[in-house]
């Protein structure tokens, strides 16, 4: 399955959607309307989970309109994982483009990545509580990148706020280690990663068929998120982009699967597994 091409089509498709929508606003079309912070499709309202959460924390109240809008995006993340990051978000597309342009190198996932992710998300939400504003929504890269075309096309000019925030993010993207914003700092992504359950769609690795010695660990080298899919931990931040599945040279060694059977520690009570397959 050409997951890579399919995913690129999806990313570009969403980008085109949000560039095209403002033109339709000029004609008075508002049935499908919004940005990646909140999107209205006919009667369905979708709200970015972390923006909604930040709002609930800042305002210290839970409104039904807001809560109902968060249900579908949260369900999507619970079932398919943080696919938003790799299949939808235009910042992800930009970031992957920069990977190619800057020839950014793969490194092992640092041990501080997880703690950094959770403390940054917590910090932003707490700062939002202190200032009484949903700051996580303010610095959301997908929001900024989809608000920008609306400002330019519909209002006739980008605002200093959007350009300034996007510029700052771009500087961080270039200065910080490869894709650190996406992997650890973006509140949108961190929240979606947190929604991963045991039965959420993931990448399963079957060791017996894996032959990394032949061509090197292609899956790890090609992963846009610096994750080694063979030794993935639950909240490593895999977004189910499928790059490793498509790139795996040893056939069905890596594949999408709902839930993963964790390698069980040897136990004297169970029969020794000798006759695999």
């Amino acid at each position: 399955m050409k997951w890579g091409r399919l995913r690129r089509c999806s990313q570009v498709g969403f980008l085109l959607l949000f560039v095209g929508l403002p033109f339709t606003y000029l004609k008075g079309q508002i049935t499908v309307m919004g940005t990646l912070a909140s999107l209205q499709i006919g009667p369905i309202s979708l709200v970015d989970p972390v923006s909604g959460l930040a709002t609930m924390i800042a305002a210290q109240e839970v409104g039904w309109t807001l809560f109902s809008g968060m249900i579908l995006p949260v369900l999507l993340a619970l079932v398919l994982g943080p696919v938003f990051c790799s299949w939808v978000c235009p910042w992800g597309l930009l970031s992957e483009l920069l990977d190619k342009l800057l020839r950014r190198k793969v490194g092992r996932i640092p041990s501080w990545l997880g703690p950094l992710r959770w403390s940054f998300l917590g910090g932003v939400l707490l700062l939002g509580l202190a200032t009484g504003m949903p700051l996580a929504a303010t610095i959301s890269a997908p929001r900024l990148l989809t608000v920008l075309p609306m400002e330019i096309i519909f209002l006739g000019g980008a605002t200093a706020g959007t350009i300034g925030l996007l510029g700052a993010l771009l500087v961080l993207e270039v200065v910080l280690p490869r894709r650190l914003w996406c992997r650890a700092l973006c509140p949108v992504g961190s929240t979606l990663v947190l929604l991963r359950l045991r039965k959420t769609l993931t990448i399963a690795w079957s060791e017996p068929t894996c032959r990394p010695a032949l061509q090197g660990a292609v899956c790890f080298v090609e992963c846009p998120w610096n994750i080694d899919p063979r030794h993935m931990k639950h909240l490593d931040g895999c977004t189910n982009c499928g790059t490793c599945v498509e790139g795996c040279p040893s056939g069905p060694s890596l594949d999408y699967s709902f839930g993963r059977t964790e390698p069980e520690p040897p136990s004297g009570l169970k029969l020794p597994v000798i006759m695999r397959n």
Partner: protein
């Protein structure tokens, strides 16, 4: 005539003061149905749906003058006022804007500068009175044909602002905080 000259000279001071004021605190109004300012800032996720839904492009995104509220929606009546079409309160996904009836909107309050208003200078003008959607209650004329704003009925839409022939406008809308 002399009195008019005096009034004009006064207005230079006035104008400077007003220009300075609007430089530092742009008279951006929140869209109709907005919750009180602190609640609005807490609820608004800057998704831009109210901006996109406005058929008059009245709603803009605020810049850095709004501080951490950067990107929140504002209406600048001097550019494009609010035409009270009441579309935007219904599209807000977070409840920062709540559905409200036209009469209960409270975006701000029109304030008249009696030193530059033509009617107060003795020139026949009722541009603001005619532009007001609540003509007769929010803005009415007194016996001297001067416009009077009634804060109780004024919703702050700002439709009176761009039609004012005085330079700069003798009527402006002060945001409710």
């Amino acid at each position: 005539m002399m009195a008019m000259m005096m009034a004009r000279r006064d207005s230079v001071v006035n104008r400077t003061r007003r220009n300075l004021w609007s430089r530092f605190f742009p008279e951006g109004l929140r869209p109709p149905g907005a919750r009180p300012e602190n609640e609005f800032l807490a609820l608004c996720i800057k998704c831009g749906r109210c901006t996109a839904s406005c058929p008059y492009q009245s709603i803009r995104q605020s810049g850095w003058e709004a501080g951490l509220g950067v990107g929140t929606p504002v209406i600048h009546p001097r550019e494009i006022p609010c035409y009270l079409c009441m579309i935007c309160p219904d599209v807000c996904p977070t409840g920062a804007l709540e559905p409200v009836s036209k009469e209960d909107i409270d975006m701000g309050e029109a304030v008249l500068d009696t030193e530059t208003c033509y009617a107060f200078l003795g020139i026949l003008c009722r541009a603001c009175v005619d532009a007001c959607p609540f003509q007769g209650t929010a803005i009415r004329q007194n016996l001297a044909l001067e416009p009077i704003v009634d804060p109780e009925f004024c919703v702050g839409c700002g439709l009176c602002v761009p039609v004012c022939p005085a330079e700069p406008e003798a009527i402006r809308v002060i945001r409710k905080t």
